[in-house]
Structure formats: C-alpha cells, structure tokens
C-alpha cells in the first residue's frame, strides 16, 4: 500500500529556478496535495504552495501535473503508476512568485473591470420572482471555483502575453455570459464583451471546458451562446439602421 514516489517539483522564483527531484512516501487514497504537504513537513519546509479546502471547492491549489493544468487536491496519486515520475510545475500563463505559487492578479483585474450586476427593481411585495428553469443557465456558471485553470490553458493568453491587455479569458467571458443570462440583470453586455473583453479572440477550441474541475460547459453553454448574441446584435437590421442614422440603438 505504502510506497516511495518519485516527484519532480519546480523550485525557484521570478529570477529563475528549475525542477528538483524528491522521493516521498505515499499511502493509499492520497492525492498530490497530500504528498506536497508531506514534502513540506519532512524535506522542504519552505516549499511554497497555495491551498485551502483540500476538497475541490475553493480552487486555490491549481498547478500543472505532468504538464496538464489540474487541482493538486483532486488529483489522486493512484492515477499514476508507482514507478512513474510525477512532475509538478506552477501554472505557466501567470508570472511565478515562488515555487508553485503564481501571481494571478491578471484575473482579479479583469474581474474588477466587468460592469457589475445591475438588477431590475423588486416586485411590489419586496420579492424577486424567477423560475428555476431560468436561473439554471447562470447557476451553472456560478459553480465556478475560480481556480483559473481555464485561464491557464487558454492559448490566447498562454502563448501570447500581449493579449492579456485585451482578452479577459474564458473565466471572465463566462462571467459576462452569466450576467447576460441572469434573469434580473438589466444591462446589454454584448458590445463590451466583444470590444473590451476580446470575445472575438476565442476560437472555441474547448481547452477551457476540458480542464474545468467543476465540469462546466464553458464553451458550449457560455461562450458560443454569447458569441451568437453578439452576432445577433451586430447584424440586427434595426440596430444597423439605428447606427446608420446616428441614433443610439435600442438594446
């Protein structure tokens, strides 16, 4: 049951670093985060890693395991053979702070730049009324634990640092879709999605959906429908006419 696993962990900081080899004990049922903790407690007390709930609910322990973006707490050691070297590196899309911890402030800046929720007034009796079927579309996106693995894997920013300025990434395009589909939200978000957050740069390769630990259908249920709505707006004859004669188009 218990065996010695071969681990290769990236150690270093913004100035540089590299992979370091470790041998760490593994017990039945353990996940990669358990092994990282054992490494900290016994061999590398200052090994930097973010984590909180260790239950796949907070989205803190994101990293790349054998090159694949994953949560350390939801990756079981049993997924690897006992003699396989397990390589753990920080998320590549974000600047490294130290070891497995990266600077994810890009995500917080994008979140802050999205126009906030703008609700309709309550009913006369002080309640908001919505049907379950209508809330479910946005509820799926609100399952997001903000692990930023989708942001990490998205090649629009992973391979092109410059795009970060003009592209919000799947997590925040999905946030715009969530607000757009929210039964109580009162803003038309189609124009900003396209012009300020780079919706058009997404070419629906679905990498984001594949790495989502919550199994959210980011591409199919959020990004594609949002793209369709943007197209509707752009090619709607009334909008076109309104724009032509210099009036503000009716949303």
């Amino acid at each position: 049951m218990t065996y010695q696993a071969k681990l290769r962990v990236w150690r270093g900081d913004a100035e540089g670093g590299g992979l370091r080899d470790y041998t760490v004990e593994v017990n039945e049922g353990e996940v990669v985060l358990d092994i990282i903790h054992r490494l900290q407690a016994t061999q590398a007390g200052d090994l930097a890693v973010r984590w909180n709930c260790k239950a796949g609910k907070c989205g803190s322990c994101s990293a790349e395991i054998n090159g694949r973006p994953r949560l350390l707490c939801l990756t079981r050691m049993g997924d690897f053979s006992e003699d396989e070297v397990v390589t753990i590196t920080p998320m590549r899309t974000f600047p490294v702070i130290r070891d497995l911890v990266t600077d994810v402030s890009y995500n917080y800046e994008k979140a802050a730049s999205i126009p906030g929720f703008t609700p309709v007034a309550r009913d006369a009796d002080g309640e908001h009324r919505m049907q379950q079927v209508d809330v479910e579309r946005s509820q799926e996106f609100r399952k997001c634990i903000e692990c930023f693995l989708c942001q990490d894997v998205c090649h629009v920013v992973r391979d092109h640092e410059d795009n970060k300025k003009v592209y919000a990434g799947p997590r925040f395009l999905m946030r715009i879709a969530e607000l757009d589909m929210h039964p109580l939200d009162n803003l038309d978000r189609r124009k900003v999605a396209q012009e300020n957050f780079g919706l058009g740069m997404c070419n629906i390769t679905k990498c984001c959906s594949e790495v989502c630990p919550e199994g959210i259908h980011i591409t199919d249920n959020a990004l594609i429908p949002l793209k369709e709505r943007v197209v509707d707006r752009k090619y709607d004859p009334l909008t076109w006419l309104g724009a032509k004669i210099g009036r503000r188009p009716h949303p």
């Binding site: 007390g45 973010r50 260790k54 609700p119 903000e146 929210h182």
Partner: protein, 601 residues
C-alpha cells in the same frame, strides 16, 4: 534602512478576514461612508465560507407559511441548549430574511419554489424547511455574491496578508500589524476600528473539516489585546465527515444528505438514531420509521426523523455505535441515500457530494452508502461581544461570524452560521463605521517602538537556528486536541491536554524555520502556531471547569446537564500570556421571549 521599512495605510475601518462576515461587514462600513479595507490570508473568494454546503437559515416562510422569527428563535435557543445569548439569537432570527433577500439584489441565484420565490430546505433542529440554498454549494454562492459586491463598490482588499498583532493605545484600537505572505514585507493598517472576522479554530484538531486558515487568529489576537472570550468549551463535531480514505478523513458531508432523506445505519443495517432520542426532544421527534418517512412530505402532521436531531446529539450517537462495535469497516457508520432517492434526484440535489465521493473515495453515492464519522467543524465560543453592536471589550474592536461567541450557545444549528455571518457582519460594519466617525478628530497614532517590537516578534523564527520544527509541533498539538479534548471528555484527559499544551507553549518559544521571507509556508505556520496554542488552552481550561454535559461539550464524568451550569458562562481573559477563567451569569431573557418556551410543539 530599507529593510526596516513598514508599509503604512490609513483607514477608518479595517476588516480582518474575507469570509461571509468580513465581506458583509466591509460592505456595510463602506456604505456608511467609512474608508474601509479588507485584509485576508488567502486570495479573495477562497475563504472557508465556500465550504458551507447546506444553506442559509431564515424564516422567510416561502415553503411553510407558518414559519416566523419566533419559531426560528426558539429552535436556535433549544439547539444551543438555552446557553445562547438570547438577544443575539433574537436579532439573528429577526433580521436573517432581509439579509438573504438583499443578496438577490447583488446577484445571488438561489434555487426557486414553484411560485418563483427562494426555495427553502429542511435541516437538523429546524422545525420548518428554512434554508435558502443553491444545490449543495450555498457557501460558494454567498462568498461569490459578496465578493462581487465588494469589487463593484471598489473596496480595498489586501489579499494574502496575515495580521500578527492588534495595536492599542490606552485600551483603544489604533490599528493592525501584519505581513504580506507573498513578499514577507511588513505592513500596518492604522485605524480606530478593527473588525475581526477570522473564522474558527479547527486546525488545532487533527480530524477536522476546516482549512489551514482556521488557526484561531482572531480569538488569540482579541485575547492578547485585552478582550474576552466566551463559551470556548463548546466545539461542534459535525456528525458526518468522511472517514476513508485517510487523506480526506474529516472532510465534510453536508447535513443536506439527511435533510433530503438520507438515513444513518450501523453495521447491522439498523437505523440506530431511534435509540438515541433525548428526553429534551422527544415531543418533536418521530419514534418510528413510518412516521419519520412521512415527515418529508408532511411536516404538519408528522414529527421529524431522529437523523435530523441537532448535530451534538447525532455526533454522540455515532460515537456510541462505533464504540459498541457496530461501526463500518473504517470506523464510522453508514449514511444511506442510495436506497432512499433516485440517482437523478441525488445528482440534482447533492451534486458536489456526488462529485466529492466519486473523485476522492471512488464511491458512487447513488449506488452505495457513504461511511461517515464525526469531524471537528465549528467553535461556538468566541470573542464576547455586545449583541446589538458586535463590539468587544476593547474600544474600537468588533467581532462577527464564527470568531464571535454567544450566538449559538452550546451547539449551533446547521444553516445558522451563514445567516449569523450576514446579520452580525452587517451590524459590526455599521457600528465600526459609526465609532470611526466619532473618532475623526483624533486619528490613531502608532509609535515606531510598537512597530519595531511587532516586527521583531514576527521575525524571530527566521532568525533562530536549529530550533523546533513548526510542522512537528503542529502535528503534536492536533493529536493532543483530537485525543484528549475531543467529542467525549474526562477531567483526567483534559488535565493531560493542559500539561501537554503548556509544554508545547514552552517549545514554540524556540521555533526556527528554514528559508527566507518570500512566500515561506514554514514561517507562516510558525506565526499561526501561537494562536492555535492559545485557543487550545482556552478550550481545554473551560472544558475542565464546566462539570456537566451540554451541547458541544460532553463530559464522561459528568454526563448530564445541570441547572446551575445552565445559568453560567465561562469567560476567558489573558494577561502576560496566561489564560484565566471567570464565571459569569447568563443574561436574563425578557418574559415575552421566555413564554415561547412554555408552549409545546
């Protein structure tokens, strides 16, 4: 010298902690016009509130129109075995519905009733279906809603910063001192008002549903600054934590599994909870399976299943079954929803439980029962506060949420935590802003000496060579608390625990860590450890003193509650690092509320 520099900020209100209570407090303080900052140990949106699953208790009456605040108040007091501060329980029950409704104005999307209102589900100890929820991820919805509101309002958030010391002058708050985890640089927030919203203490225990952040920081900071703690002997062991695999032992399984029809069975296949119905709850609890099963569809003509007794009762019953040799293979009991609901229903109502067992234990809960056992979940005890203002015993210091005491008495009902965060978070924010406005003319001053001292204390473990390893001491503390101050307690074991804690306290004076200041978890743990030891001492001391069993405090040597102890609170205070206890009479409930307890169910 650049290395001596401390980054300085000036605010009216500084909120320590960014869970539900902290975020709600900050929103209120900001809306009252206070310059407000939030300081949190993790990234924004990762606080322990995300772990809450079941829902927010509020007597909105959307499912059972006969529900109202008086029924909720009564359930809360009875669940806490009448040791709750009556005024907190009253404010909580009265204000919870409005606090839930305003979340919708900020974007929250709760599950709906057929009429389009917020749906409400059943939970232990609540007479009516009362928990506003989103599947079994209500905490995530709460934190995301408040987080997005905070961002929309433009409130300053200092992420990944730990507060190591509260700064006072003449027994009044002047600020908080801490460090940036990322760089190890020091930082001070000067402010007349500080709100503690730091959550609980569960990381002092080995088997716990709590994350690393739960190191009792707020409890210890308040105590050291001269405030008092109340009810510290009462620690809630949630009846249903995972027991296998060991890697996830203690991880929470939501009470909603039982609320949605799940039942507890022993190794003989018996629904054993019928054997553990206490006298106190006999009148409102079904004594046979038929009535219990009818209750899910008709609460008016049937009594509640015993699986939905308050958490302390269920946790003790599971403990007894395992001790009697009727446990499951890995030392728990069975929680069965598979034989009671369809796979579709289970996946729809309990999606994250389905996911959690599938991913972490390779168990399909639509086909097999879960193995469950008690896990340290919540501390009822906390900073002694004024119910209306959330003010602690030091001017300018406030506390809300789990770090505050009194609201839940000796045992908290499920669902009452999220509502507590909202109700008292808002109250703390409002009072802190008001107090700061009164102090406008005399801004707080922090001396260079105070900063130099706080800095020196924080750096000590890094400068020391060859001392004790913080990870090793933490493991010893967790084992001690788990084995000696756990769900069933005795005088002998509590005394042993106190001796052990005293020995560990001496050893942490000699902690040393490897590496430097930049994102160094060993150093971070070294600075959290003294807090865990302080709260552990409080818990063990108060547990030894209280010679009765009540709620989250069970003494094998004093197995019954007594009327004498039922009229007393234990208050912890500290001077020069030593914790002392005093007995304090319970606040007297006014007659119009007391009559609520004379009627029968």
């Amino acid at each position: 010298m650049a290395d001596q520099a401390v980054e300085k900020h000036f605010y009216d209100v500084v909120v320590v902690g960014a869970g539900g209570a902290g975020l709600r407090a900050a929103i209120e303080a900001h809306e009252q016009g206070a310059r407000t900052a939030i300081v949190c140990k993790s990234l924004l949106g990762k606080a322990h509130t995300v772990m809450a699953e079941g829902g927010i208790a509020a007597s909105m009456g959307n499912v059972y129109a006969e529900d109202n605040w008086r029924v909720h108040f009564r359930d809360t007091m009875r669940g806490g075995k009448m040791l709750n501060h009556w005024r907190m329980a009253q404010l909580h029950a009265q204000e919870a519905p409005d606090r839930v409704r305003e979340l919708e104005d900020w974007g929250a999307l709760f599950d709906r009733t057929a009429a389009g209102l917020i749906s409400q589900r059943d939970f232990g100890g609540h007479r009516f279906a009362r928990l506003a929820h989103v599947g079994d991820r209500t905490g995530l919805e709460l934190i995301r809603t408040l987080q997005q509101r905070v961002v929309q309002l433009g409130i300053d958030v200092f992420m990944e910063c730990t507060v190591t010391k509260l700064l006072t002058t003449d027994d009044a708050m002047v600020g908080a001192f801490g460090y940036r985890r990322e760089s190890g640089e020091f930082i001070v927030w000067q402010a007349p008002s500080v709100i503690l919203a730091t959550g609980g203490i569960g990381k002092a225990f080995k088997v716990t549903s709590n994350s690393w952040e739960y190191s009792g920081d707020g409890h210890a900071l308040a105590l050291r600054a001269g405030a008092t703690l109340v009810n510290m002997e009462f620690v809630q062991f949630h009846p249903t934590g995972m027991v296998w695999p060991l890697s996830v032992k203690g991880l929470l399984i939501t009470e909603s599994v039982r609320g949605e029809g799940g039942v507890l069975k022993n190794s003989e296949g018996k629904r054993f909870m019928f054997d553990y119905i206490p006298e106190f709850f006999k009148a409102e609890t079904a004594d046979n399976e038929e009535e219990a099963d009818r209750w899910y569809d008709d609460h008016t003509n049937n009594r509640r299943p015993p699986e939905l007794l308050p958490r302390d009762e269920v946790a003790r019953a599971i403990n007894s079954e395992v001790k009697a040799g009727r446990g499951s293979p890995h030392g728990g009991v069975f929680l069965d929803i598979a034989s009671r609901r369809t796979p579709e229903d289970i996946k729809k109502r309990l999606p994250s439980m389905y996911h959690q067992f599938k991913e972490l234990a390779e168990v399909d809960i639509t086909k097999e029962p879960m193995e469950v056992g008690p896990t340290c979940h919540y501390v009822m005890g906390g900073v002694e506060v004024d119910p209306d203002t959330a003010a602690a015993k030091i001017r300018g210091l406030y506390a809300a949420g789990e770090v505050a005491g009194g609201m839940h008495g000796s045992n908290r009902l499920g669902g009452n935590s999220l509502s507590d965060l909202l109700v008292f978070g808002r109250r703390a924010g409002a009072s802190a802003a008001l107090y700061a406005a009164e102090k406008k003319a005399t801004p707080p001053e922090v001396t260079d000496d105070a900063l130099a001292q706080a800095r020196q204390e924080a750096l000590a473990p890094l400068e020391r060579q060859g001392g004790e390893n913080p990870y090793a001491i933490h493991a010893e503390l967790q084992n001690t608390m788990n084995d000696l101050v756990g769900i069933i307690r005795t005088a002998g074991e509590l005394q042993q625990a106190l001796d052990k804690v005293a020995a560990l306290k001496a050893r942490i004076a000699n902690l040393s860590v490897e590496g430097k200041r930049r994102y160094n978890p060993g150093w971070h743990l070294a600075l959290d450890l003294p807090n865990m030891l302080t709260v552990s001492e409080c818990v063990a001391k108060a547990a030894l003193e209280r010679q009765e069993s009540r709620g989250g405090h069970t003494r094998d040597d004093f197995p019954k509650p007594t009327p004498e102890w039922g009229a007393l609170n234990l208050i912890c205070s500290s001077s020069d690092g030593a914790v002392s206890l005093t007995r304090q009479p319970l606040p007297q409930m006014p007659d119009e509320l007391a009559t609520l307890f004379q009627e029968t169910t």
